[in-house]
Symmetry: C2
Subunit: 106 residues, 2 copies
DNA sequence: AATATATGCAACTTTTTGGTTTCGCAATAT
DNA sequence: ATATTGCGAAACCAAAAAGTTGCATATATT
């Protein structure tokens, strides 16, 4: 099984779950209430999210609260880093290009 | 078909393609040379990436150069924004907590 | 103790995906 | 002109994923 963060956030329902529990821990049932799918389907998504450590569980009596492991989200940010460099320097490159054109056409 | 950015970057080969052409435009053949798959498989990935506007093509004679549309990558960054807020304030919360502990144990 | 609730898990079905093979088309080279 | 090269598209296949149904288990509630 692949089971990495990128595959985990590929599913729109899972992204919605992540956003939902980002601010406060929730139980599977209350999470499922927000979607048109069955509780079991949500449960499966939760399992996938748990497996790649994007969320964590906390048992409280017979209820299980799921919450986001925000730290893990930083891995996506880390991957984006390489591109952020590009889109930030692209402005500079444009400047350089314009400067070069100015020089050579002189 | 779903075909959104998150689904596009879910595949590791596609992520590698993105990184590969991020700095310079490349033809399907030269891209495929970097992987163990066939040109056609890469071609399919390129189509998916094109469909969600993550990359763009430029015909040059009989060759087609693919390059990254870096702007589109910002959409991922935009989605991360909501979580970045959380993980940034979490530090402050931690600071507050540490401050409180310091105070109370003194 | 009996029942209701919250949940996970396994089996099964249906889509979706990633890949290969084959084909056809357009541009270039001979 | 004819052959070669660079591509995309369609047909097909195997594997994976998403969802459903039907339990099993643990904890509340009465």
């Amino acid at each position: 099984m692949r089971r990495d963060i990128f595959q985990a956030i590929a599913d729109p329902t899972r992204r919605a779950i992540i956003a939902l529990i980002a601010l406060q821990a929730m139980t599977p049932n209350s999470i499922a209430d927000n979607f048109n799918t069955t509780r079991q389907a949500v449960s499966k998504h939760l399992r996938i999210l748990t497996e790649c450590e994007l969320i964590k569980q906390e048992q409280k009596g017979r209820e299980i609260y799921y919450s986001l492991q925000i730290e893990k989200m930083k891995e996506i940010d880390k991957w984006l880093e390489q591109f952020r460099k590009i889109w930030e320097t692209r402005f500079n490159q444009l400047d350089d290009l314009l400067a070069t054109i100015k020089k050579t056409t002189k």
